[in-house]
Amino acid sequence: MFKALRNGLLASIAAALVCTGMATTVNALTLTGAGSTFDNPIFTKWFYVYQQQHPNVQINYQSIGSGGGIEQITQGTVDFGASDGPMTNGQIKRFEKKRGCYILHLPVVIGGEVPIFNIPGVKTSLKFTGKVLANIYLGKITHWNNPEITRLNPGVNLPDADIVVVHRADGSGTTYCFTNYLSVVSPQWAKQVGYATSVNWPVGLGGKGSEGVTGIVQQTPDSIGYDELNYAIVNHITYGYVADKDGKFLHANLATVTKDAAKKAKHMPKDFRVSIVNASGPDCYPISTFSWMLVPTVWHDAAKEKAMVKFLHWMLTKGQKMNASLYYAPLPKNVREMELNAIKRIHVAQ
């Protein structure tokens, strides 16, 4: 009995080693990327389709979060990063010091963020202003029937109940964009909390990931949270209207998000690091953000560099056509052209 077991074990180990050995002889070039969970659906689609068209290139992307993307690209453990919040000047300096080259921020998609809520008996989409959202998240507005909210929503029967505030527990670009918006519309928020992928929230429960936030909101009466637009659409979650800079209440959708991006993109800085929240102009949905791919300018592996540049070209031309199917807004034309130009800076180290 013992002999049989031993032989069986040895045989399976041998088989496993052979398989691994065989696998290593397959000639696939792999690029690794890490970062934003927001981009995960579109990246997964792009990389899958790209691999079908170019079988010897595999791009492995893991959504560990925007901050993770920035950290890992700085450490050099991945080939590219992805983030919904641009790197700060300090973070860029740190990157340049550690890696000895410049980092490109290449916008890949535009997304929007929406306030989601769960109030028993309220089926209509509520209207919010930026100031109201900030005050809710600051803990200054504590009940649903607070005059500031009822004033915006006449005719809706808001209960006299505590607002259960929900936010992201893990660091995230979604948080970055949301807190960025709150900082812009509320000076108190800017002073007290600020904006980043992870902040010291004054009040609220922390959900893990967008799913965590949505899960808690859906399960908890009288709660409010924030989510990515495409996430809310895919999962049929009721979300509220947000007032734009001119005071008009907008429901986030691809059109309004694109308009906001296009407006701000007219003055796109050369390094593409721009916040596009709260653009002034008709139908510009205020809580919108670019999402960037973080690509170093200098590469040490010629084959990888070539594959990366080729993919970026594909992404900016063919890839963009897939955005709408997953409820991401495509990049405005002038941005795409600027990027195609910027990619030329990527080269192999001499």
Partner: protein
């Protein structure tokens, strides 16, 4: 040779002195085995020290900036880079203690059932089933916590508690589902199998003569268990408790999904909280900058330190009651 040869477990391992032969080849084989095995054993010590060392080194930025205040500060602010571990330490301790308070009576009770009441044939099988609870991955516990446990707590358990014991500060306040309470219960279910399994083993090891003597003297079955069997088994049960505690302290995934992830200290068990392991899991991949990462690693160091102390206490307890250093 050794007069204790008839006992299967002796304090003199290996049956006494090695090599009596002066042949060079045999010496070599023996020396080789001894060296290789000694090296392996030593490497365990080295790895443990190395882990502590790595944690110590990588947490340097945070340690230098905050010193011991790290353990007493309540703020956790990644934007201004002010970090303090107190809310996490509090959450970790409260959830773990709460889990133990539930799991120990439950586990000991179940073990007593298995040993004293269940028919011999099924007892082993049932014990095996319970040990399967320990095999369920943490992530699954987290999911079940969100989708199964929390709705039940919200609709039935918490209202009942509030009705009866609602005057206590630990049961005051609104219950939003994700909370220290929920995390404690999930942890309790996760650590119960350890307590059941070890308690069962030590109860089974109580000599028959002791039980029979007690029953012969007129004690009821329960009195025998309580006054005779359990005191003999007490050391093992303590050990089980510590094992369970160690597991509860380090539990990550299940806790982060149901605890609410709010780094604030509140008296009520129904409020959300945060634990060290949950904080590290949530924020490590996102953390940017040496200070933030250093603070998170310092949290890991704190957890390692707590484990170190608890192991020391457990060993002291076992030594002080006459153990010989070897226990299972």
């Amino acid at each position: 040779m050794n007069p204790k040869t008839t006992v299967t477990v002796t304090t003199e391992p290996g049956g006494g002195n090695p090599t009596r032969f002066s042949s060079g080849r045999l010496h070599l084989g023996d020396r080789l085995l001894k060296s290789i095995t000694w090296l392996s054993a030593a490497s365990i010590i080295i790895i443990t020290i190395w882990i502590a060392w790595q944690l110590f080194v990588f947490s340097a930025p945070s340690r230098h900036k905050f010193g011991w205040h790290f353990l007493l500060t309540k703020t956790w602010n990644p934007v201004s880079e002010h970090f303090g571990a107190l809310p996490f330490i509090y959450g970790t301790i409260v959830t773990s203690v709460f889990a133990l308070v539930i799991a120990i009576p439950l586990g000991v009770g179940a073990a007593i059932f298995l040993v004293e009441m269940a028919p011999r044939k099924v007892s082993g099988f049932l014990a095996f089933l319970i040990e399967l609870l320990a095999a369920v991955p943490s992530v699954i516990y987290g999911l079940l916590g969100i989708f199964l446990l929390i709705p039940i707590l919200r609709s039935a358990v918490v209202p009942a508690l509030k009705h009866t014991l609602g005057f206590l500060p630990i049961f005051k306040g609104p219950f939003y589902g994700v909370s220290v309470f929920s995390a404690g219960i999930v942890l309790a279910i996760m650590i119960v199998p350890f307590i059941v399994s070890v308690t069962r083993e030590v109860l089974l090891a109580v000599p028959r003569e002791q039980r029979e003597a007690s029953l012969a003297l007129g004690a009821t079955h329960w009195e025998t268990v309580w006054k005779v069997a359990i005191p003999i088994a007490r050391r093992g049960i303590f050990g089980a408790g510590f094992l369970a505690l160690a597991r509860a302290l380090g539990e990550t995934m299940a806790v982060t999904m149901v605890i609410g992830n709010d780094p604030t200290i509140r008296a009520s068990l129904f409020s959300p909280g945060y634990s060290i392991a949950a904080a590290i899991a949530n924020e490590f991949t996102e953390a940017i900058g040496r200070m933030y990462i250093g603070a998170l690693i310092e949290l890991g160091l704190v957890l390692f330190g707590v484990t170190f102390i608890i192991n020391g206490v457990a060993r002291l307890l076992i030594f002080s009651t006459g153990g010989n250093g070897y226990e299972s």
